[in-house]
Amino acid sequence: MYFAGVDIGSTMTKVVLLDKAGNLLSFIKGPTGPEHRQLANEVMRQALEQASLQIDDISYIVATGYGRLNVPFADRQITELSCHARGVSILFPNARTAIDIGGQDAKCMRIDNGRLVNFVMNDKCAAGTGRFLEVTATTLGIKLEDMGDVSLKATKKIQISNLCTIFAQQEVVALLSRGEKLENILAGLHDALASRVAALARRLGIEPDLVLTGGVAKNIGMVEAVKQNLGCEIFVPEEPLLTGALGAAILAKETHMKAVRAGEALPTKSRRLEKATFFSQEYR
């Protein structure tokens, strides 16, 4: 008996496979890209290969993330908010608040008894999300994964006043032409983003333990900046990108077990690994 969680985010696609006891068998992370509608089958195939499993071995599959409707073989769709909350609480049983900063969303979640109880998300625009860092990394000519380490070398804090991704870019260009040091600019950017996320989290109310997840949690500069802005300890999972897919797999397992206990037959989708067809047909 095996379970799968598929998290198709705006930037990255993640798959987690679990066994009956909830042990991690394999996971895959890959860029979502523009073809995400057609990619779910491919990442699933890779994860199965890693775990030496066949698709028919999987008892129940939950899809989450923006692309959750584009996984034709998923049995159930659950939002990434519920999945992140569940995943975080499995990794950190004492977690009461989770902040996930992904490619196009920043979400703050409150967790009680391992479940999502309340949440806030950023407005529709991408300010205050991973995209903000991606865009400015390009402007600054630095690799995304190096931003955090470089920012820790800052000797002073630069105030970046504008949090709009586009305007902040202009501000960064102005700072560069003024001769400001890269590390100082980076520290300023991280602080700007962190203060925005902190404001979002305060709207929800923060209760310890606090866990930071999502691609942005891989940036040590951001983790430090969020810590400073919120003034509390932050826990980061080893694989901060995977909590959504992990939560989805856990929820798949729980959904299945609940049905088994109740003696109910749980409807599942065809286990063929095929490309998704059209969005709305899958949805209705």
């Binding site: 923006y66 939002t79 908010l81 519920s82 969303d105 999502l116 109880v117 998300m121 529709k124 949805y283």
Partner: protein, 389 residues
């Protein structure tokens, strides 16, 4: 599929092509008067045999013309309404009545008036508070409205005709509430999406035709076997405007929307106009005091908001408390239209009020387009997941 010529089927047809009936009526010699907001006293138009037609924006229409004359960052609904007017989509109108229900509407009115050329145009300066002085002032405004209407139609607005009109519109209010009685069951007998279509039809038809449509619809819904499915939550949506079925379906994919507390739903129909010796008195009272939109300032006790917060909340939102109980609502979504300040500022208090009732709520924002609905959908679904565990 129901009959296109009556009840729900007819409402759907009108929803999809709301100007068809007004255009036919105009060809038959009637005069059609547009209005963008439910605060315009339609009784006064009906009494003079004018046909009121609510000029909503077209949510699927990209705004282009309005952006030539106005900044982008303000009420997308008024921008959209004006845009449609500037694109001559309302050229079957004989006139237009706008009202100071919000600042964007007041500001847009001038542009509307000078950039379009309807034979009749009137702006009602509606006060913002429910104080007695405000009521007097509003009555005066309605008197001015009467004068310009009389000049335009070359007819007297008689007390008898006005009373008859008030009775017809009151009947419409009663019927809409009867229709909403049918969402009390679980599952509801009529969906929020269908009600959006019915209300849109009502605001595109003469009152008597609207009442016939409602009567047909109510009997159809009572006897139907193809009603909505039971979903995992019963929601109330609180918004300035929710008048589009695509947006409504974002909610109804996962929940039953049993109350649409916006001007695309129940808002204009919650009470009835009192018949007073001077009918304008009853009209002024109804439109100022009885319609519960965030645009109006209400305070339980003068200057005592902090001391009497619970009472203040009760006086502002008490009507929602009753609805939540009667309709067994287990979640409220505060749907903000971007840049709608009156509703945005009302939100913290409403949230406090709902918390005091133990009702979960969340807020989501949209910009009156149907473009990027995926983020909206995620927020709605996550909220439904939290309340239906």
């Amino acid at each position: 599929m129901s009959d296109k010529n009556k009840g729900l089927g007819k409402a759907r047809e009108i929803y999809l092509d709301s100007s068809r009936r007004p255009k036919d009526l105009r060809a038959a010699g009637k005069k059609i008067i547009g209005y963008p907001c439910v605060y315009v006293p339609l009784e006064m138009l009906t009494a003079l045999d004018l046909v009121p037609y609510r000029t909503c924006g077209d949510i699927k229409e990209p705004v282009t013309e309005a952006d030539r004359v106005l900044p982008h960052s303000f009420c997308p609904i008024m921008r959209n309404c004006l845009d449609c007017a500037l694109k001559n989509k309302n050229n079957f109108l004989d006139g237009m009545v706008t009202i100071h229900s919000s600042d964007p509407q007041e500001k847009t009115a001038r542009i509307w008036e000078s950039y379009t050329h309807y034979p009749y145009f009137h702006f009602i300066d509606m006060p913002i508070t429910v104080r007695p002085e405000a009521l007097e002032y509003f009555k005066g405004q309605l008197n001015d409205f009467r004068k310009t209407l009389e000049a335009f139609t070359a007819k007297k607005l008689s007390t008898d005709n006005l009373e008859t009109a008030i009775k017809s519109h009151n009947q419409q209010r009663v019927l809409v509430r009867k229709l909403y009685e049918l969402t009390k069951t679980s599952p509801p007998r009529i969906s929020g999406t269908e009600i959006v279509q019915v209300v849109k039809a009502l605001t595109s038809l003469p009152v008597a035709e609207g009442n016939d449509l409602l009567t047909e619809t109510i009997s159809e819904v009572k006897n139907r076997s193809d009603g909505p499915d039971k979903k995992s939550a019963r929601l109330l949506i609180w918004s300035s405007t929710l008048d589009d079925t695509d947006i409504m379906q974002v909610f109804e994919a996962k929940a039953n929307v049993v109350m649409n507390e916006s001007c695309g739903g129940v808002r204009a129909y919650r009470g009835e106009v009192k018949l007073t010796a001077d009918p304008l008195e009853g009209l002024a009272d109804y439109y100022l005091n009885e319609i519960t939109c965030a645009r109006t300032f209400r305070q339980a006790t003068l200057g005592e908001t902090r001391k009497d917060y619970a009472r203040d909340l009760q006086s502002r939102f008490g009507y929602l408390g009753g609805t939540i109980k009667e309709w067994k609502i287990n979640g409220v979504i505060m749907l903000l239209v971007r840049y709608c300040d009156p509703f945005a500022f009302e939100m913290p208090s409403l949230k406090d009020y709902l918390s005091s009732l133990g009702i979960p709520s969340t807020y989501i924002e949209y910009d009156y387009t149907t473009g990027a609905l995926a983020p909206l959908r995620t927020r709605v679904e996550a909220f439904v997941e939290t309340i239906s565990q």
